[in-house]
Symmetry: C2
Subunit: 296 residues, 2 copies
């Protein structure tokens, strides 16, 4: 019986230590370093880096090879949260159970801390020791995949669609398109990079991308459900905010029951995409189920 | 007699065409693309990319090799301006003679357009075709140099110092430290990358870095002088704003005459650093003089 809790603890500890090292090497004891550390080490779930490491394991690679990419993913995810929380964007005051970066520091510092985490992610990717020629080309490719996923054809376009959706009701196709970009792009890139760094075959990559797309959307449906039916204390943030802000969500479009059913369907498809893999895919299988069953 | 105006026109046209191509390849006709194009193609002076190309030429290289790095520099410079102009930062409404990005679009779009240009800069660096193994490692190195210069130990720390300086008077050492990071870091990186991509020797790199540090600071002193004594119509932005905002500037600390003298001294040092180079350094020599004589 695979113990996901143990696995998540173990992997997120590895990620946390690597992130702490990155900040340590970068810091100069300035306010900007404090703000970066405040948000990056605020106890996020580390889903993206864990997916990256698990993808490497699934195809028989060493997850250590993917750790730098995993850390870059988490830095980019955190930067996007800092900017998303800004007054001009979602205007959120609570994140991961703590005041958001612009509340704990100030708005200018939050803008710059986000910028700095994004920049540091790319610095770290470009600083991987490359002892062989193929490795250098490989890290350029990883950098490109991450930049495309995070940029204006990926996550940022998703954020734009999210902003544009305020005050009007999206249909299901629009809602899916928004999430596929806003959260799906980074999740897919996390799995893609992990698998690529572990020398996945083309077929393996295709299966993992299908898995990624399904759990990425399932993750978002589950988030929407938690915002309706979750426990604010366990989540470390307010619930009911989507409805208050008239956000288009799966529960608002489908109702709560049909949303839960949809999340289960997506999880089922994600598991199907893993059928050709052996027991090394157990972490990814367990993660797919965890994503819709989590309480925060 | 070297014709700088012709040179600047020629090089900035090359840069503008390359930037337009980058945007063209990236765009999906969304608002985010419009906002990115609006700010990137607003007619900046292209000083950083031209310095990058001129550095490559100075050491006998082909400036075409440095064009991608030059474009990345300009995208990063533009992103920093967009974020600097935000209400939470400098709250500027005019830039390069046009409404700033958050005025022309909105604040959320400006935050995201800045993020997207920064991300696109790294995508472009990671997308250089690398046909040989050494080239891949070289582009990783270029990416690292640019990320360090743009990040929390470079430009972003300079922006933090600039914000912290509001309402209090810096001394000369603090003012220099702030500018060395805020504008100097990217200028130095522009020359560094251009020279490196043209296979500069260690000694050549050292000379070009000394040149960069001196013109970087001279550029800022000249900017401060223009804010006191410049023509707002020629500059496309308001003057007198530094004094209004009680900013620490060279004219405020030294007076206008001593500031002009200081700028000339820095230019002289920059020219000294170029003494070992032949006539291929003429563009850099002319640029050093232009920087303190420019009207915008």
């Amino acid at each position: 019986m695979f113990d996901l809790k143990l696995y998540l603890n173990e992997k997120s500890q590895i990620v946390n230590e690597a992130l702490a090292d990155i900040l340590q090497n970068n810091q100069q004891d300035e306010i900007i370093d404090e703000a970066m550390r405040y948000s990056l080490m605020a106890g996020g779930k580390r889903i993206r880096p864990v997916l990256c490491l698990a993808a490497a394991e699934t195809v028989g690679g060493n997850p250590a090879d993917a750790l730098t990419a995993a850390c870059a993913m988490e830095m980019i995810h955190t930067y996007s949260l800092i900017h998303d929380d800004l007054p001009a964007m979602d205007n959120d005051e609570l994140r991961r159970g703590k005041p958001t970066c612009h509340i704990a520091f100030d708005e200018a510092t939050a803008v710059l801390a986000g910028d700095a985490l994004l920049t540091l992610a790319f610095e770290v990717l470009a600083s991987v020791p490359v002892n062989s020629s193929t490795r250098a080309a490989e890290w350029l490719q990883i950098t490109r995949i991450i930049a495309v996923a995070a940029g204006s054809r990926g996550m940022i376009q998703g954020q734009m669609l999210d902003m544009a959706a305020e005050g009007r009701r999206l249909n299901l196709a629009e809602l899916e398109a928004m999430h596929t970009l806003k959260t799906g792009a980074l999740i897919e890139a996390s799995l893609h990079c992990g698998a690529l760094l572990a020398r996945a075959s083309r077929a393996q990559l295709a299966h993992l991308k299908s898995y990624a797309r399904n759990i990425g959307l399932a993750f978002q449906v589950a988030d929407d459900i938690l915002n309706v039916a979750g426990n604010p204390e366990m989540m470390g943030k307010a619930v009911g905010t989507d409805r208050l802000n008239q956000k288009s969500t799966y529960p608002a479009l489908l109702g709560l029951d049909a949303s839960r059913q949809f999340a289960r369907k997506l999880t089922h498809r994600a598991l199907q995409a893993l059928e050709t893999f052996d027991s090394k895919a157990e972490p990814l299988r367990a993660l797919a189920t965890y994503i819709i069953e989590r309480k925060r």
